[in-house]
């Protein structure tokens, strides 16, 4: 810096001197030659003095800090190198540390769903209206190891009478042998149809505002054992363009208590089992990508709390189809009951239930249509002893708006006909208008 200042000063001084000398010659043409020479000499003397003064000042400045810069520069080089090397080492350590976080066994991801709403008929109890609290549903997927995994779901839900209940909806621990075989033990969503395992709790997950009534949860007047406590083998065999999906399970035979199906969390006292399976195929490539079809069936000997107790051999077969793409979501399910009264002479009773739902994923939202129907034999004690075992049909139209990636507003209009008169249900028709705000976190 100092040297550079010195060079600049010298240059300036020479320029001033030259300009001072030339300018008078150029500008003045008059006067005697002697006067002009004297004037030039005087100015030249002044310029020389100025140059000397500036040169002296430059030397003075240079002398003030003669060799400090090169020394500093010489020492700065190794200092910088050392500092950079230290920083590089630290960054490498941080990267290695962060890279290992994926295998951190202490992490416990917890997420959940919640929903609230308003309706002229409560979604699960048409005798109530107004604002309602839906579910606050937490689920945990602890990171356990290479092959072991677990899933726990704790749900705070409003029961049909308005009280708040807490359910351990799922408590399952599993071991994955491969993609083709995972064994779960505990309480799980009974693998029948599509909706019961794909769109269970967590309203945000589903496009529709609520499940078909006959597929409701046991304590929300559902007529099927949607939870099982037992063992479940599930897997997928990947092939060209698709995969074969299968489920095989067995568990505690359920019991109807107080009009509600009890999945017998702690075991049952009669050794009866539920056993069933599901087999499906899903296209993952080509024109049929997103299409899935399957068959399902299960059997369970189910008693109740009546005196004398009724025992019914529940036998259900059915099928499902799904078309789930970026544009469409269509679902249908069918359940065929062939229940046998095994405690008396009631014989066998055939019933059916099913639904079809069509949804279009438009840029502004997801409008959907659904039709559901259950034709349930009231002579079948399995249905007769349930709080809502009546036949019905419902037509619904609705729409889902995704407000942001984690919240959705849903609206639904529905018309419901309860077509059986039972001790718990009266024949009636009603129109629903419902709104729901659902989130995930």
């Amino acid at each position: 810096m100092i040297k550079q200042a010195g060079n600049t000063a010298r240059g300036l001084a020479l320029a001033v001197a030259a300009f001072s000398a030339i300018a008078p010659i150029a500008s003045r043409g008059a006067g005697s030659e002697g006067e002009q020479i004297a004037e030039l000499k005087q100015k030249l003397d002044q310029s020389l003095k100025m140059i000397e003064a500036l040169t002296a000042r430059v030397r003075q400045l240079e002398a003030a800090q003669p060799a400090s810069t090169p020394t500093a520069a010489a020492t700065a080089v190794p200092a910088d190198a050392q500092r950079i090397e230290t920083v590089e080492n630290r960054v490498a350590q941080m990267e290695a540390s962060n890279a290992a976080r994926g295998g951190d066994s202490s992490s416990l991801p917890m997420h959940g769903f919640a929903d609230v709403g308003v309706a002229n008929h409560n979604p699960w109890n048409p005798d109530l209206k107004g604002y309602y609290v839906g579910d606050l549903d937490f689920y945990l997927t602890p990171r356990l190891g290479t092959h072991t995994k677990a899933l726990f779901e704790l749900n705070f839900e409003t029961d049909t009478d308005g009280s708040i209940g807490v359910d351990l909806e799922r408590a399952q621990i599993g071991y994955s042998f491969s993609d083709a075989a995972t064994v779960w033990l505990g309480r799980f969503h009974t693998p029948f149809g599509y909706m019961n395992t794909a769109l269970h709790h967590g309203s945000w997950i589903a496009n529709a505002l609520r499940r078909p009534a006959f597929l409701n949860f046991e304590d929300h007047d559902g007529i099927l054992p949607v939870h099982t406590v037992g063992a479940w083998l599930t897997g997928a065999a990947h092939g060209e363009g698709g995969k074969l999906l299968y489920d095989v399970y067995m568990g505690n035979g359920q019991r109807i208590s107080g009009g509600v199906i009890d999945m017998r969390n702690a075991g049952n006292d009669h050794g009866q089992l539920i056993a069933g399976g599901r087999l499906g195929y899903q296209w993952t490539e080509g024109a049929a990508e997103g299409l899935q079809f399957g068959l399902h069936g299960f059997s369970s000997k189910i008693g109740d709390d009546q005196v004398p107790e009724h025992n019914t051999q529940l036998r259900v077969v059915g099928g499902y189809g799904v078309y789930d793409t970026d544009r469409w979501e269509h679902i249908f399910e069918i359940y065929l009951f062939d229940n046998k009264d095994v405690s008396g002479n009631g014989g066998t009773h055939k019933s059916t239930a099913g639904f079809a739902q069509f949804a279009y994923r438009a840029p502004f939202g997801v409008p959907y249509l659904r039709y559901e129907r259950a034709s349930l034999q009231q002579a079948d004690q399995y249905f007769a002893q349930q709080a809502f075992g009546a036949s019905y049909w419902r037509a619904a139209i609705g729409i889902r708006f995704d407000i942001d990636p984690k919240s959705a507003l849903k609206l639904e209009l529905a018309n419901t006909h309860v077509t059986d008169q039972t001790p718990n249900q009266i024949q009636r028709e009603y129109d629903d208008a419902l709104a729901q705000y659902a989130i995930r976190f």
């Binding site: 010489a74 990267e95 890279a99 677990a150 491969s178 993952t284 990636p405």
Partner: protein
């Protein structure tokens, strides 16, 4: 001479450090948009299986449990080019997957170096980087 040559040497030394940085920047610019899907050397993943691996549909290659990891430095490009989804949909896919099957979304690494280190040290590890990964990992596909 000393006072004149040392600053020059300093400049040359700085230049020696700056030039490779410029080179790296130019290399990055020249290869802008290039993306390498990598796996641990012991993982024999096929390019067609990348999507299923990162959305949790494929968990094993042979006896090896896959452990994919996202790289936030280039995640947007990966989602767009490879999985063909946006970040919101990707998060939604994993919310459903996790809730239904108890699977855990891939951990998120924050740089190529971190992703590379994770893949090298994790059996079954897979991730993606924006620069040539070098030796020690297997490049499954280049986009």
């Amino acid at each position: 001479m000393r006072s004149g040559s040392s600053p020059l040497r300093t400049r040359r030394w700085r230049g020696a450090r700056v030039i490779p940085l410029i080179g790296l920047a130019l290399a990055g610019w020249a290869g802008a948009g290039e993306l390498f899907v990598i796996c641990n050397a012991a993982v024999a993943l096929q390019p067609a299986e990348i999507r299923d691996t990162f959305v949790g549909e494929k968990g094993f290659v042979g006896a090896v449990k896959l452990a994919p990891a996202d790289n936030s430095a280039i995640q947007a490009a990966f989602l767009e080019k490879v999985l063909k989804v946006d970040a919101a949909k990707y998060a939604g896919i994993w919310t459903k997957k996790s809730f239904r099957d108890g699977d855990i979304p891939p951990p998120v690494k924050t740089s190529d170096a971190e992703a590379l280190a994770y893949v090298k040290q994790t059996q079954g590890g897979c991730s993606y980087v924006g620069t040539e990964p070098g030796p020690g990992v297997k490049v499954i596909a280049r986009f």
